[in-house]
Symmetry: C2
Subunit: 267 residues, 2 copies
Amino acid sequence: MPDILTNMKISIVGTGNVAFHLGKRLVEKGLTINQVIGRDEAKTRWLSEILQAKQATFAKNIDESSDLFIIAVSDTAIEEVAKKLSEFIDKQCVVHTSGSIPSTILQPYFKHFGVLYPLQTFSLTSQPDFDKIPIFINNTPQYYIPFLKNLAEKISPRVYELPDEDRMTLHVAAVFVNNFTNHLFKIGSEILAKQNLPFDVLLPLIEETVNKIRHNPPLSMQTGPAKRGDNVTVEKHLAFLEQQAPQYDLLYTLLSISINPDLKINK
Amino acid sequence: MPDILTNMKISIVGTGNVAFHLGKRLVEKGLTINQVIGRDEAKTRWLSEILQAKQATFAKNIDESSDLFIIAVSDTAIEEVAKKLSEFIDKQCVVHTSGSIPSTILQPYFKHFGVLYPLQTFSLTSQPDFDKIPIFINNTPQYYIPFLKNLAEKISPRVYELPDEDRMTLHVAAVFVNNFTNHLFKIGSEILAKQNLPFDVLLPLIEETVNKIRHNPPLSMQTGPAKRGDNVTVEKHLAFLEQQAPQYDLLYTLLSISINPDLKINK
């Protein structure tokens, strides 16, 4: 069976963490990146060398012959980048990689637009395990869906077609389990630091918290004073926080009541 | 060098998750459990067989010759159990295993009392990695400290002496990173379930969130719309929550402002 990706030319727009990791993964999977397009010349050269691709800035050298342009830039830069790119290309497909921006942000600029969203937080220093990362795609009109699907399946076995509305759902859920969770870790570290206790004493507990939800719904794994209706401990903790870290007092209360609406907190 | 633990007799009071895992670990490390003391006869028999120990209920057969009694029961049962136990023993050392109860709850009942607190959430189904679990001990008067320290070091290489006040610090921090984090996972799963998306699409993101704080302080790893002052996305998420899950609206706002006090949320 001929590979739908054969002879398809792909350009990556952007030089950040997502551009780096997606580009590297595609190259590792045997695909060729035609061109890396960036604003910063040094960074563009850096990434194009890693990906063995041609390079371009928005001022010059954009290769219009690519069939797909993957815009992997920060949410706030997508529209500006799309606008610039639209000066060069016409019938090609353009996707962005953001979880929180609708694909329709690209609609004024391109006939074929869509999203290729890997649900993961990327950093330059840690190696993502793409085999586990779900990829969500959409495309309007649907002409390029088979191509995007094939491409995404080169990146990860877990590919889902998902309309813009549902991607918002995903992103809100991701904020809770990633951004907000990290903030709770930070609060934990801050509380310990006040007593000169090292944060890493909490790591085994954090790891076990995650282990437990690998195979069980989080609701069934809930433990702690709030869950068991232990008002005495909840109030002792609040009194402690009032002394030691009053800025987290309200957050403790709200999270406890969210876990157990029947809690009676007298303070 | 003679082992300080030689000829020391240990009884475990309780038959729950902590009693089970601590007892098993001690036996695996070559110690002998003298007796398992429980309220429920069937459970007591079950655990005493696993630990190859004698068994007793509070009504009968308590072996007063043990030197240490480890009360591993739920927080709310500690005092009642201590009271019953105190009918039988006198000069021996009694510790409980709770993070949130001061050792002094045992003071009215025993001359030698203390705590042996493993900072972990235990369940019957998952195997704790004791080599990583920190153990916090204290003892009043300090007569038994060398013994408790040696014993704890059989369980884990990470043993800390910690007064009651600091154990409270630990427990509050643990509530944030374990109980509250699990609740955020539950919220994530709930939001996804409304759109028929499976929770496990979030697992790689959750794992990466934890990976990042193994070697970096959580504060430096914070990302997301709140952190970068992206009011537009924060407000879109809040509008989404108002429609889909209004019960988490306030929590989203409070966590976002806690991450970034400069956020301007207009709603």
